[in-house]
């Protein structure tokens, strides 16, 4: 039997609830009361939903192209976080917007440069000049 994505999601939820209940059993009653009151019904509901999904595995499929697009957006988000970690927000913002527009949106040089300038200008004006927001330096820019 092949598990559908929906069944896997329900199963994951049931597993998380089971862990929560198991962990809460080790705590004193005051700390355990609420997690147990919420965790036990969650476990039961997720288990029932898993059974329903297993019995009725018909799910509208996602096309390969759609899946690629979804994964691409997540990859870009992960890349942005990595970039922030490495070089900090003030550098990551223009680099990210420009690369996204060029590589993902295929926007052309003019449009990409204009939108990057607008995004960076907004970011700089609002957060750096106006709010004086203390953005942390990145791991690379920290030593410099």
């Amino acid at each position: 039997m092949r598990l559908s994505g929906a069944a896997l999601f329900s199963l994951g939820l049931a597993a998380a609830a089971a862990y929560a209940v198991y962990a809460a059993l080790a705590w004193p009653p005051k700390a355990a009361l609420f997690p147990l009151t919420m965790g036990i019904p969650l476990l039961a509901l997720a288990a029932v939903q898993t059974v329903i999904e297993l019995r009725d595995p018909a799910q509208p499929g996602e096309s390969a192209a759609d899946r690629r697009r979804v994964l691409a957006v997540f990859a870009w988000m992960a890349a942005f976080i990595a970039l922030v970690l490495l070089v900090g927000f003030p550098v990551a913002v223009p680099v990210f917007v420009f690369s996204f527009l060029m590589l993902q949106s295929r926007a052309g040089w003019g449009m990409s440069l204009a939108l990057t300038a607008a995004a960076w200008g907004f970011f700089y004006l609002v957060f750096v000049r106006l709010l004086h927001f203390p953005f942390e330096a990145g791991l690379i820019t920290l030593g410099g």
Partner: protein, 497 residues
């Protein structure tokens, strides 16, 4: 009471609050026009920016934005047949056929004017209900407030029109939200719960990264997957007759008033939300047709099919705020996010909002009124240009939206780990949308989790299990069970018919 009403108006008219309301409205304008990015997602996106504001400024900003998004959403519904807001779907049914017949301007005029009338009625209902609700709320103690939390989740799950099968998912998500709120140090015993050895989790998960991730990221992904221009490739012709539409509102004034009342009523019911309000108002408009021939005009471009949903769309905002402010039980996803704003501002919905912070509550009423009046005037004056916004290519605004998501999440606490939480919440939100799990109950549970735990703790400490036998608690338990059973009765009735 009158003092507080006037004080509320003066608070909104203060320079800071008023200018922030205008900024919020400008954002709401654009968002309402962009299909795919709902008002709830925008509220979540803007939540991090309210930290430095006073409560009045924050609510002027957020409510201004939210009420405008509801109004301008009608514009794309009518012009392109693509609802700019999930809430404005019912306007499509008659509004878009009118646009196709070259009566777009008339439909828009009708939608905007009826929205204004609806908003004013909604705001009046909110103002009038405060003295009525106040004595009721003040009699509630911790046991009742805990039950109200559970009833809120039951309502948002059962009355959302998703049917009996979706109830399991809805309740599971509500419990998951309540469970997620327990992460971190427990306040009474100091025990660390679900911290996985990470110091970051000692304080618990922050509201903002979770809300932004769950609501905004799935919408952004949807925009990326569709890969087209925002309004698709639908043609947009405005035609003439804006004033005709405005006059239509007054020609069918009682219909507009009745549909506004429907909107207020549905708004007050926690869990029903704006979509339901619009469809119920539409159904009422159809029902009020004189005969079968008159009824057959609906769906083919009847202006009454635009007036009804238009009025309910905005009147429900006032109604929706009543349970949110008075009981802390929001009626929709957007209101659940607004509840997050209450907590950020250090305000607790419930008795305090009706006594100590009454002027803040009335400032919300005034924000609804002023924001809607300005919106309608500006919309009527700039209709032609507004339609152009929807022609922007979706892929061009994606990086800007992503930027807003992550910068917003970071600025709340200045922690890089918040970015990872946003990404994880985004992935969870995406999977929930993909597999048909509702997001509103999860958000509601998460927002109310800490309060609910305190209520349960106090109830148990004070009464033991005896709190379950208190008369008001029993009434609330019965009401909750009725709410849970409601979709079953509804399905049986439909089957019997």
């Amino acid at each position: 009471m009158l003092d507080a009403l006037i004080q509320g108006l003066l608070l909104v008219l203060q320079w800071n609050a008023f200018s922030l309301m205008l900024v919020g409205m400008a954002l709401g304008f654009v968002v309402g026009l962009l299909p795919g990015i709902g008002g709830a997602a925008t509220l979540a996106l803007m939540l991090p920016f309210v930290f430095k504001m006073t409560p009045v400024e924050a609510f002027a900003f957020l409510l201004g934005m939210h009420s405008v998004a509801a109004t301008t959403g009608d514009i794309t519904s009518i012009l392109f047949g693509v609802p700019g807001e999930g809430l404005s779907a019912a306007t499509v049914v008659d509004g878009h056929p009118m646009a196709k017949q070259g009566e777009a301007a008339r439909a828009l005029g009708a939608a905007l004017m009826s929205s204004l009338v609806g908003a004013l009625i909604g705001a009046a209902a909110l103002a009038v209900s405060i003295p009525i609700v106040r004595p009721l709320v003040l009699t509630f103690g911790s046991p009742e407030l805990f039950m109200i939390t559970l009833m809120g989740i039951a309502c948002i799950t059962s009355l959302s029109g998703l049917g009996t099968r979706a109830q399991i998912k809805g309740f599971a998500m509500g419990f998951l939200g309540l469970l997620l709120a327990t992460i971190g140090q427990e306040r009474q015993s100091g025990i660390l719960r679900f911290d996985f050895g990470l110091i970051y989790l000692w304080e618990g998960l922050d509201l903002i990264p979770v809300l932004v991730g769950i609501f905004a990221i799935p919408e952004i992904i949807d925009l990326a997957v569709r890969g087209t221009s925002i309004a698709g490739n639908a043609p947009a012709k405005l035609g003439a007759g804006v004033w005709q539409g405005v006059k239509d509102t007054f020609r069918h004034f009682w219909l507009v008033v009745r549909c506004s009342a429907v909107g207020v009523f549905v708004g007050i019911l926690p869990g029903a939300g704006g979509g339901v309000a619009q469809w119920m108002a539409y159904a009422h408009a159809v029902q009020s047709a004189k005969d079968a021939k008159d009824r057959s005009r609906f769906g083919a471009g009847d202006v009454r099919g635009v007036l009804g949903p238009g009025a309910a769309n905005n009147s429900k905002e006032g109604g929706d705020l009543i349970p949110t402010i008075a009981f802390g039980v929001p009626g929709s996803g957007a209101m659940a996010i607004l509840l997050g704003a209450f907590l950020i501002m250090g305000l607790h919905p419930g008795p305090d909002m009706l006594t100590k912070h009454l002027a803040v509550t009335y400032s919300m009423v005034w924000t609804l009124v002023i924001a809607n009046v300005i919106t309608v005037v500006v919309c009527l004056a700039t209709l032609k240009y507004l339609a152009l916004v929807t022609r922007v290519r979706g892929s061009l605004i994606l990086p800007l939206l992503l930027l807003l998501v992550f910068v917003g999440s970071y600025t709340a606490n200045k922690q890089i780990a918040d970015l990872l939480v946003t990404l994880a919440a985004g992935a969870l939100g995406y999977l929930m949308v993909r597999y048909g799990w509702p997001r509103a109950p999860l958000v509601l549970g998460f927002v109310l989790g800490k309060l609910a735990e305190t209520y349960l703790f106090i109830s148990m400490a004070r009464y033991g299990y005896g709190w379950l036998a208190q008369p008001l608690v029993i009434v609330l338990i019965v009401l909750t069970l009725l709410v849970v059973a409601y979709p079953y009765f509804q399905e049986r009735r439909t089957r019997a018919a």
